[in-house]
Amino acid sequence: MEEKILNIVRELFNNNSLTNNSKMGDIDEWDSLGHINIFMSIEHELGISCDPEEVIENDSIKKIVTLLTNKN
């Protein structure tokens, strides 16, 4: 799961420097708009739906991975 999420985020932002420890604000692209786009991509690629609150709260790779693992 971790790898899948990382790939999605890297592709979206066209940035391979992102790691498991990356979080919102680390790079310019990952602002609030970028953050919503991460969830848009995740929902598209993995077919998992998240509530708006979940989108807003889970603002790092680690948190997103935990969220999605629990949802599975």
């Binding site: 066209n14 692209e29 609030s32 708009l33 919503i36 786009n37 969830f39 848009m40 598209h44 708006p52």
Partner: protein, 506 residues
């Protein structure tokens, strides 16, 4: 290319899907009207070259007329290019059966179309095309951040915008000029069995031709510019596997003139600028010639590996032949051009060809009675058909005899220019008899034609003849018509049909 997006909804996500462009973000969504109408706004002052105005009709809070006024104001005041979308209401609009919405949609798009016809820096993004795909809208993200589309939606929008920008940037060309040998098919027609077939390597060329044909259906004018005997070229197009037929080409310059003159004539006959022409030829010398003397003509490099021909050509199409619009007139035009060509007389040739030859840095060495290459000499007499005055075929043993016999001279041409070392590509055999010189064989390989090599080879013959009378003969075949006048061009006199003499001083 720098891009800026303004909108009445949150469309900034497009930047994640339009890779390869630089995005400038000055304007908050929703402020688009102020940005358009204030010519001191950051929108006017920013360094973006292209502005995308995305209007979401479901959420448009102002009158259409106000929006159009603002668009017109902006394009009059700016040098930037504006791309805006046609509109399409959400499918399940409320008054489905009252037709009011339909009317609004049609009238909005018609007004926009009128504007874009009026201004050359306004382009339309056909949103109906995007709406034909299902599931492009995501209501959740709409409520989170006024983001209307999902990933699929943004990808489709980005794809259309990209095509539009590429077309705007490169423009669409109108004419595709094609070489024949090793371009439309593999091999040399008239010399070999050409490669054109439903499988194997020949299929590469069939697929290539199929794509070319589809360009014709898009209104692109097809022409040929190829150094072949006319009849041979036509024979190639009549090949059972040839997708392209004689009639598909509006102009066919299948002759031995230089290609610069031919392409100039094509532009003149079509009454189109040279910049509307794309020229495809596998031969780097020909490409360089055209690039040098017709710098406006578009000359894409030809793929080194023929297996890449088709993917390469798709890129060529994308670069040069994307259409901003295709109208009925485009198709009609093909017929008009045909009529025009039938009326017009052919244009005259150009005289800078000599300059081009100079720029090639041609180096020619002559090998006289050099035994080392007799295999190659024999091979040339066997294979050369087109530039071959007598078409006499000789074996290696024959060639050995000529080289060693004092009554014969064998002169081989070793050709080199700045692009390639073509090696031994020309041959003459002279016979000394009764105090005269008889030219038994005079031939040049196709690869080095029209480079002035023939006159250099003849000068060499004159040198060897030491002012003796020189006799030459032209034996016509179905393939060597281009050499019929050669001796006359060297100031020979015709003494009998196809027999020529040049008197020396001895």
């Amino acid at each position: 290319m720098k891009i800026e997006i303004i909108s009445n909804i949150n469309m900034d996500s497009v930047k994640f899907y339009l890779k390869g462009y630089k995005f400038i973000q000055n304007c908050e969504f929703g402020n688009y009207m102020l940005d358009l109408l204030d010519d001191n706004s950051s929108l006017y002052k920013s360094e973006s070259e292209i502005v995308i105005l995305f209007i979401d009709i479901d959420d448009l809070m102002i009158k259409n007329s106000e929006l159009f006024d603002a668009i017109e104001f902006f394009i009059n005041k700016t040098k930037k290019t504006l791309i805006t979308n046609t509109i399409s209401f959400t499918p399940e609009y409320i008054d489905s059966f009252l037709n009011k919405t339909l009317q609004a949609e049609l009238s909005y798009n018609q007004n926009l179309l009128n504007l874009s016809n009026k201004y050359s820096n306004l382009f339309l993004l056909d949103f109906n095309k995007i709406c034909k795909f299902k599931n492009i809208i995501d209501e959740k993200f709409w409520y989170i951040g006024r983001i209307k589309y999902n990933k699929m939606g943004f990808e489709l929008i980005a794809r259309e915008v990209n095509k539009l920008i590429q077309t705007y940037k490169y423009g669409s060309k109108k004419v595709l000029v094609l070489d024949m040998d090793n371009t439309l098919w593999g091999g040399i027609i008239g010399e070999d069995e050409i490669k054109l077939s439903s499988d194997g390597i020949g299929k590469i060329y069939v697929d290539f031709q199929t794509k070319i044909k589809s360009l014709k259906d898009l209104g692109i004018l097809l022409c040929i510019c190829s150094k072949n005997n006319y009849e041979d070229g036509i024979k190639g197009l009549n090949h059972m596997h040839s997708i392209l037929k004689e009639d598909d080409f509006i102009i066919k310059k299948i002759n031995w003139n230089d290609k610069v003159s031919n392409i100039k004539e094509i532009a003149k006959e079509l009454n189109l600028g040279e910049n509307s022409i794309v020229f495809i030829d596998d031969n780097p010398v020909e490409r360089s010639l055209v690039k040098e003397f017709l710098p406006e003509v578009n000359v894409p490099d030809f793929p080194e590996d023929i297996y890449n021909l088709n993917s390469w050509f798709l890129k060529v199409i994308n670069n040069f032949f994307s259409r901003l619009n295709l109208t009925k007139e485009d198709i009609e035009k093909q017929k008009q051009y045909e009529a025009k060509i039938k009326r017009d007389a052919l244009a005259s040739s150009n005289n800078s060809y000599e300059k081009f030859l100079e720029s090639l840095n041609i180096e020619i060495d002559f090998l006289v009675d050099d035994e080392r290459y007799i295999n190659r000499y024999a091979q040339m007499t066997q294979k050369t058909n087109q530039f071959n005055l007598t078409t006499k075929r000789y074996t290696i043993a024959d060639m050995e005899k000529f080289v060693l016999d004092d009554n014969f001279n064998v002169i081989a041409v070793n050709y080199k220019d700045k692009f390639a070392n073509e090696g031994i590509t020309g041959l003459a055999i002279l016979e000394h008899k009764n105090g005269n010189i008889y030219i038994d064989t005079f031939l040049l390989s196709c690869r080095i034609l029209k480079r002035g090599v023939e006159s250099k080879l003849f000068s060499k013959i004159e040198k060897i003849s030491q002012q003796k009378d020189i006799y030459g003969e032209y034996i016509p075949t179905t393939k060597n018509a281009q050499t019929a006048e050669l001796y006359k061009s060297f100031n020979f006199k015709e003494i009998k049909e196809n027999k020529f003499i040049k008197k020396g001083n001895k």
